[in-house]
């Protein structure tokens, strides 16, 4: 089944949390004339699936105390797992938005949402349980991942992130011959999901058979 006709079943996030994240990821990566934003790229669904994974409970991280705050150079030192950071971060940010604007985050105007996201980013919102910067940094990291990771993880729907930048995804066996060729190599992106679901062909070595995109006359944007 391809990502686009798969009805999403969420394993971790609740409807109010999904509403919050859909609004947030669409401000972080907004839809515009270049293509869809975070929401239509299914970044929220990507985050949900990550939260259900080993990563969502920091299964491969060191998780013993004592828990000290540490210096910025010492990295992640929270007791909370990503699952907990999202549940708590969303709830407490919504409580902040209700107090500040009288509404939950998802119902604010775009300008107000940007204002809240900037305040979170710079640690200017005093959330009761965690640093707002910690919450924002995790949300932004996962948003980038959800927009640019292989669609097999639930995001980057229809490879919109790869189309945006011109990344062809799984490599083609033709690269080696092209390595010193200045000609622009432009291909329809192929994902691992495409190959697993037999939407794309591979060669005998398993490399993607790229379908080339006809070069546009002038590639300069100026």
């Amino acid at each position: 089944m391809s990502a686009s006709n798969n009805p999403h079943a969420y394993g971790c996030l609740t409807q109010p949390e999904i509403g919050f994240l859909n609004a947030a990821v669409d401000r972080l990566i907004p839809p515009d004339e270049l293509g869809p934003g975070g929401k239509d790229a299914d970044v929220t669904y990507y985050i949900d699936r990550q939260l259900c994974s080993v990563w969502g409970t920091h299964g491969r991280n060191y998780r013993s105390g004592p828990w000290l705050e540490g210096t910025p150079q010492q990295g992640f030192q929270s007791r909370l797992t990503p699952q907990e950071i999202y549940h708590v971060g969303i709830l407490e940010t919504n409580q902040y938005c209700s107090k500040q604007y009288g509404k939950n985050f998802e119902f604010l105007t775009a300008a107000q949402q940007d204002e809240v996201l900037q305040a979170l980013e710079h640690g200017k919102v005093a959330l009761p349980s965690l640093s707002s910067k910690l919450f924002f940094d995790l949300l932004w990291r996962n948003t980038e991942e959800g927009f640019f990771a292989d669609p097999l993880y639930g995001g980057n729907r229809d490879k919109v992130g790869w189309k945006l930048v011109g990344f062809p995804g799984v490599a083609s066996g033709a690269y080696n011959a092209h390595i010193d060729n200045p000609e622009v190599y432009r291909a329809e992106p192929v994902s691992i999901l495409d190959i697993q679901t037999q939407q794309a062909k591979v060669d005998a070595q398993g490399y993607a058979k790229h379908i080339m995109i006809k070069p546009i006359k002038s590639t300069a944007s100026k």
């Binding site: 299964g59 992640f76 066996g173």
Partner: protein, 587 residues
Amino acid sequence: MTTKLKPVDAVVVGSGVAGSIICMELANAGLNVVCIERGRMIEPQHDFVMPYTHDELKFDRHSDIFQNLSRETITFRNNMGETALPMRELGSFKPGEIVGGTAAHWGCNARRFLPYDFEIRSRMTERHGKNFFPADCTSQDWGVTYDELEPYYDQFEHIYGVGGKAGNLNGEIQPGGNPFEGPRSREYPNPPTRHTPQGAMFAKAAKELGYHPFPGPAAAMTRDYTNLYKVMMGECQRGGFCSSHACAAGAKANPLTAVLPALMKKENFEMRPLCNVIKVNTDSTGKQATGVTYIDARGQQVEQPANIVVLSTYCFNNTRLLLLSGIGKPYDPQSGTGVVGRNYSYQTGGKVEVFFDDREFNPFIGGGMTSTQFDDFNGEELDRSDLGFVGSAYIAVSSPGATPIKSKPVPHGTPRWGGAWKKAVAHNYRRSFSIGIHGSCQSYRQHYLDLDPTYRDANGLPLLRMTFDWHQNEQKMLKFMNERCIEIAKAMSPTSYAARAVPTKYSIIPYQSTHNIGGAVMGADPATSVVNKHLQSWDVPNLFVVGGSAYPQNAAVGPTETIGMLACWTADGIKDIYMKRPGQSML
């Protein structure tokens, strides 16, 4: 309850670059060899296949071929005044945890150190005087010279199928290669990688400025190649997804592709994966190792007696196992005495990104250390009389295969997120590349490894503690290199360029390089080294400690080839010298 097994001739701890070669060489010499590896067994044609290896999220962020920190990590602090805290998630570096070790996901950067790197203290003192080194710098000569080691570089290159162009053949400078390298006894086994269009632009600009660019030597096959162990490796397809990824083409030389196919066939060799060594055992005198104790895949404690013990794990674990086993005097930074944990160091990195509105590249094509570089600021070629720093860097334009989660260069002043960020990312992904700085890092009295007083691993044993920060010497060097790279950038007439700022403090968060070194260094003096020039423990002569842990400080180029070379050198020493007088010092 410990199960005690039958003795073997040699037990080798760790199956990475160093361990696999030592196992092969000792098994070839007829010894019964057991390799004990904490990670799982890998069958490349089963574990590392297309298209699954072309997965940036998995291999750049979450892979289970990296060290599982839930069982064991290190703690870190910038200085002795801070409380070290555990590295809870991987960031700055990515040690491996599989058969094949960290090299299974290395980037194939296969350069030799320069002759000067092995004698930096004496050569720089001779040239610039005693006070040239910062007062707290503990960098020292290796106790062995490039000329002694050259045959072993050659051997390693013929195991790992390194591709390149010689710049110095037996003292004669060769066109097209690196004129500043140490003399080679013969040409590389494989031809060099081709320059990318980005590399060609860089080479042209560098030449105009009077520098000497050459194709970066790489251990990704530039043609199908059968190595010294009669193992065949296929040609690299330049498909990207290389560094930090496993290679599905088998084109990346590493223990799994270059050594194990031959090693695993040997009847006098046994690989024991999922077995975690916790101690090197010694006899009642403490002067002879009797074997190792490990915890096996089922959680049982096992003792493996052996006549020879080789520690060939990652730099951290070699040092930690010595400390946990009470072998060698732990380093004390206050008095500057003791040796185990002394001279921990890292690698200095930087870059200048260049953006071209009117050009497009193919940044996803590459990998296998496709690079164009020059050494005019490396080694003794650089006159440091008026520069005020010790150390070196080489400058390179590499095409590692830019994957879009992490590689989205944007010009200075671009917002971190939102519509303007999105437009800048879309515009610049294919219109940019970076000039990289790969620099040395000296060792200092206050940078070291010891056991953490608080945090413990899953077995209840103390974690290793790292105390490290950037020293102003490396910051000065990086500032100088940034300025030179900006000159090169300008010579290419980009729309704009952006130099990464010289970091004020070392941070464990962003990936920098998996080039941690030191802690069990080699040298000529037991007061300042853990092992002698043959990588033999000064205290326990039937113990050898091999790997990045042996470097007294780091050179500008990547450490992997020198680790492999040291493995070849150590193995020859054991076969030719040690076995004639087992249990005794080789000096």
